[in-house]
């Protein structure tokens, strides 16, 4: 499972980076979304992916014995997903506005503010 997740996260990062480097603005925000998904899955993997070890303390014990599936990263991801959603929504509106004012979807055309 860990190997599979590692591969998946790697593919997400690679494709996210590739999309960010494309010239089209639409692909740019798809890339940004993929990058944030990759980060979220990475945090998820950090929680120890196991089905048989819930984070519950046995009656006979006083502390959690490792390894156990940590619930905290899932809470973190939930926060990150909500933030990511808001950011994606903003980015979508923004590229629409950029397209309206500049009339182009090509990032190479947007170079007048560079130095």
């Amino acid at each position: 499972m860990n190997t599979l997740m590692a591969l998946l996260i790697g593919i997400l990062y690679a494709s996210g980076m590739y999309m960010v480097l494309r010239r089209s603005m639409v692909k740019l925000i798809i890339g940004l979304a993929l990058l944030s998904h990759a980060a979220n899955l990475l945090i998820f993997t950090m929680a120890t992916l196991r089905r048989d070890r819930p984070p519950l303390i046995d009656e006979s014990e006083t502390a959690l014995a490792a390894p156990y599936a940590d619930p905290v990263p899932q809470a973190l991801i939930l926060t990150a997903i909500v933030i990511g959603f808001a950011v994606s929504a903003f980015a979508a509106i923004m590229i629409h506005r950029v397209y309206q004012t500049t009339g182009t979807d090509d990032l190479d055309q947007l170079h007048t503010t560079d130095s």
């Binding site: 940004l32 979220n40 945090i43 950011v87 980015a91 004012t101 500049t102």
Partner: protein
Amino acid sequence: MNLLLVAPILVPLLTAALCLLAWKSVRVQRWLGVAGSAALLASALALFAEVDGRGMAVSHAGEWAAPFGITLAADLLGALMVVLGGIVGLMVAVYSLGSIDEGRERFGFHPLVQILLMGVCGAFLTGDLFNLYVWFEVLLMASFVLTALGGERAQMEGAIKYVTLNLVSSAIFLAALGLLYGLTHSLNMADVSLRLARLNYPALENLLAVLFFIAFGIKAAVFPLFFWLPASYHTMPVAVSALFAGLLTKVGVYALIRVFTLVFRDDVEFIKELMLVVACLTMAVGVLGAVAQMEMRRILSFHIVSQIGYMIIGLALMTPLALAGTVFYLAHHIIVKTNLFLVSGAVARATGSFELKKSGGLYAAQPGLALLFLIPALSLAGIPPLSGFWGKYILVKAGLESGQVVLVVVALAVSVFTMISMMKIWSEAFWKPHPLGLTPAPVGLLNGPIAAMAAMTLAIGFGVEPVMQLAERSAQQLLEPQTYIRAVLEARR
């Protein structure tokens, strides 16, 4: 709950909420913005007085003891940064009364500034890494909207670069955070610091340190990750770019200082070497970029980059004197840089352009404004007895004590180039007659915040002793994180 610690976050939130309630009336929003920023500064000063007396202020949200709950903690550096945030907020709020157009005000300029200040103060006060990420997102979201608000063509081009690079940085920060959690099973900075010291995974720690350096490095605009800054800061309205120039990159520097003095404290030499190289290159490349520009705000944007290099010096050397220099430099830079952007707005208002070729004649028409430009400009270049001289003097001394001759040479040479840039602005915008023969228009209200911040620069320059002592005490705290860790983990309030 320690109300003093929460107030710098609650006050701007409340102000923003009130501004939203008064959505229809721009006039009410304006004065709410000024009053709210003044209240923020007052609450920041109260917090600073408390921290100055006791050394630390710690508070746990919802009475959940560390490391389980979210911790708010202020040491001297955090409290000082909140005070500086309050100063910049108030100055920009007053300045925007006379400079922001009504179109932007109608679409929420004032509440957005308050949300931005809330995010900045939250980032300075949090003691929890994930919470730091959330505050970063809060301030980024507000800054995104402020960047794009108005929708001019140049602005939209700048916005897309600004947004993209900052989102990439956030994704890297989030990934680093996840990996760090996987390693230590904690998010509380004090707790993470203790747990990392007990673990022995030097390779992983090194990787994490570099990831954090990249994530915060993009936000702080260090070489070679700074290109978004000079491509976007000159496109926004002056009040917004002054706010960003004063505070946003400095939040990145603050996060770097926090993480590399508290979390990765026993880190291997590699990252220090990296920082030394980065500091030199940031200073040099930033200032050389500025030399090539002929637009006032582009010049100033490149100087932000160059000055960030000076702040990294202290972090790279990690001696008490160098770190004190960095803290001093942060305080000096925030005031001076905000002021220079405010002056650039006044120059553009008076002469009609940010382009140096198209402006001029200000010295003859408004000697007062010319003087007010010279104070922060000479301070930025490091002319004694202004504040920048002392900052550079301390850093150069610390560099010599550590035997980093190359670093010192670069820092001094960069100072000369800074002087050249400032003199270029002086001779073009102030000294030469206006190319079209126009008499520059008066700038009225805009002079107020500029004069106030110039007075602060003079105060730091002439009253250097107390500020330096404060910076030294702050550096002492940073170099002995045990005090911070104990205060956070043992606080029961």
